[in-house]
């Protein structure tokens, strides 16, 4: 199959991107200055991420659509205000996760942002569940640009006036350069920032404009170190079809009002696990010293019993040390539990720790 390219591919090339294949797309892993520089620039200034490979699924409908979606997602969508976003999951009957996603109520229905590797399957699953009653559009004509970091609000507001009035996890349509952009105040780096949905033919000029105002392009390499420092899950690593939201320690994302009556796909399993606890739980892990424990590293207790596995591990540039996430048996999931990580045949000490590794405050009280 031919590799797919986003509408910013040429711009990546002219900015010295090193490319990798990701979910069938040719995507920049880093640019000239390297992952650590890009990571730190995002934390201190403003980084631009091409996330156009992700799915933008528009579903159009009224209250009956809300009712149907509540049968699928563990969310209180009836009480979700227009232009507000929620993090959620598409699950199977066993509460195994097909995908994690952001769903936003818009005037016409809902906009769901899906992972690139899952979007086609998600579309199939959702169209089977919803039938032909609602118009669905997995929109390939729109690019998705994220701008993240403390200077992003000032930079973006100078181009799209009014985005500074958005609260975290809300969005709205804006007019800019004779077209409609959907902007949400969100992101996946642990920084204040925005995601902008823009038509493909306007995306390159828009990003060039952001660069002119002082933001810089950032690759998937730094996106990974940023999200890991922020303690955020990456599908295919922390999350997959064999993990439930309770095991992934994401119970905060399940609306409380939905837990008493259930009625969404996977609700039985989730309600059971909420009561009895899951046997394995996602935790943060800090290796002692400088040792990096990568994905698939085995985790042991002090009597040589394997108690879990690392799902993501790298060096955290802002933490200035190694960080990881993984699953451990419930009795080892308490913060400060001593564990051992087997790297290159030797066991190295590490500690279970609280997430995130790096904390910034999102903007909540603009208006």
């Amino acid at each position: 199959m031919e590799i797919k390219k986003t509408s910013l591919n040429k711009l990546h090339q002219s900015n010295n991107a090193k490319f990798v294949e990701f979910a069938g797309y040719e995507m920049p892993i880093q640019y000239g200055k390297g992952i650590i520089e890009e990571h730190k620039f995002t934390r201190s200034n403003s980084g631009i991420f091409d996330v156009s490979h992700m799915g933008q699924l528009f579903i159009y409908g009224d209250e009956s659509l809300t009712a149907e979606l509540e049968k699928i997602f563990p969310l209180d969508l009836k009480n979700l205000k227009q232009n507000c976003s929620k993090y959620s999951f598409l699950m199977n009957e066993d509460a195994g996760i097909y995908d994690d996603l952001i769903i936003t109520k818009i005037q016409e229905g809902y906009l769901i942002i899906l992972n690139a590797a899952c979007k086609d399957k998600d579309y199939e699953i959702l169209s089977n569940l919803l039938g032909s009653k609602f118009k669905m559009n997995l929109d390939n004509n729109r690019s998705l640009i994220a701008i993240q970091g403390p200077k992003s609000v000032e930079i973006l507001n100078s181009i799209i006036n009014g985005v500074d009035q958005l609260n975290f996890m809300t969005g709205n349509w804006f007019d800019s350069d004779n077209q409609k952009l959907f902007v949400t105040r969100s992101g996946y780096t642990g920084e204040d920032g925005f995601e902008i949905s823009i038509s493909n033919d306007k995306a390159e000029k828009f990003v060039e404009n952001l660069i002119e105002k002082g933001a810089q392009l950032i690759g998937l390499g730094a996106r990974d170190t940023l999200r890991l420092e922020a303690g955020l899950c990456l599908y295919g690593h922390e999350l997959d079809i064999n993990k439930t939201p309770v095991e992934a320690n994401l119970r905060w994302a399940i609306s409380k009002s939905r837990l008493s009556n259930g009625g969404f796909i996977g609700s039985k399993k989730i309600m059971n696990q909420m009561q009895d606890g899951a046997s394995q739980i996602r935790v943060g892990i800090k290796p002692e010293g400088r040792l990096i424990a990568r994905e698939k590293t085995k985790i042991f207790n002090d009597t040589d019993k394997q108690i879990g596995e690392i799902t993501s591990g790298t060096f955290g540039p802002s933490v200035n040390g190694p960080i990881a996430m993984g699953y451990v048996d419930k009795e080892f999931s308490k913060v400060d539990t001593k564990i051992l990580l087997e790297v290159r045949g030797k066991k190295h000490p590490a500690n279970v720790c609280a997430l995130p590794f790096y904390k910034k405050n999102y903007v909540k009280g603009v208006n």
Partner: protein, 126 residues
Amino acid sequence: MSEVKFSKEHEWITLEGDVATIGITKHATEMLGDIVFAELPEKGSNVEKDGTAGVVESTKAASDVYTPVSGEVVDTNQSIVDDPAKINEDPEGGAWFFKLKVKDTSELDTLMNKEEYDKFAKETSS
């Protein structure tokens, strides 16, 4: 000090008497990206030509460091373990990895000179 020689695994080596100093090349560091971890062989241990003698890790991945000749490890550079970023800054100078008492100096004869290595690096990275 002898001429700098290079291995296909992207190590450099210089010889003074029968003691060799070994590190990884600038080209290797450019391929690896930001180096954030280094592991060195133990002082007093014996390493075999083309065998593993250390590890470097970038933000992206781990890579083995090989020794281009056999010998006994007589010194290691702790400063790169404490501050791995030094390897990106000065790979072919201050950021050497380890020193060996070389068993058989003729093992260096099979290695590449600078010109040969530059050509090799260019061909293999494109």
